[in-house]
Subunit: 148 residues, 2 copies
Amino acid sequence: MPSDLSADIRAAGLRVTRGRLQVLELLENAPHSDAESIHALLRDVDPDISIQSVHNILSALASAGLVRRIEPARSPARYERRLGDNHHHVVCTECGAIEDVDCVVGHAPCLTPSSTSGFTIATAEVNFWGVCPDCATVAETPVASPVA
Amino acid sequence: MPSDLSADIRAAGLRVTRGRLQVLELLENAPHSDAESIHALLRDVDPDISIQSVHNILSALASAGLVRRIEPARSPARYERRLGDNHHHVVCTECGAIEDVDCVVGHAPCLTPSSTSGFTIATAEVNFWGVCPDCATVAETPVASPVA
DNA sequence: GGGTAATCGTGAATGACTCAAAATAGGCGC
DNA sequence: GCGCCTATTTTGAGTCATTCACGATTACCC
């Protein structure tokens, strides 16, 4: 079923290469992966791929609009393939796990700040910080001050 | 009038040192500064201060809750002294300039995601991405795809 | 199938930050 | 005001994710 990935890539004006196909396919199954884990998974299929190529591929895909790059504080950049819908993320302050959060309120209520200070707003990004179920069970101790 | 800064520092359980006072004072005048520019400004007053000390001071102040650390993607960590009120930021996709944005809606409407995926949400962070007035005048050309 | 430019591999380099150990200085009790 | 103890700073090296440069390879158009 990865056949139309090629079409996507080509439609974005990029050449279709094995690496790019693999990265896209991989991001379907493992969203929110960072460059290093993508590299690790890719090596299973193509042992010769280098981490630089992964960065290369990812930034090509990102600037072509095929993947979205998210960079939570304290964590390497991660990539995901869900595009178009403006959804947000929950990040675990303990282990860095990321999950998607749909913007219930339909279409960006928070997208309109009160005073833009003259800025021309293009996008809004919402990140929720908390503790994921796994880490919550491990550490009962309420954490000090993770973000603020 | 920087006299009660000492009190603030002490109240947080930290020792009052010259560097910390200077950093706090500096952040009043130049909010959203990153470690490097803080270092540069500090050298005017105290030429012997090292960049590591600046990092040290900043992380001490941050974990004591005296400053807030903000880390927009594609930009080194920045620090500000506005605390308590949950305000957000506009970041210029061109030059990285940051301005404060008050959360009009009183108290965090966006703070409540639809499904938390089992996460225990602690804080929410909202970043707006756009083009600042300065960069808007310089480049009339609408930019490709800066963030998304 | 051949040519050409995009893409990948290799290697080195950068920026921002962290870690470790020795030198210094703040603030407590006296 | 004086010393002591420990928090903080300094100095220096090291880490991590990412980027840059350039030659080798490969996809795609004809």
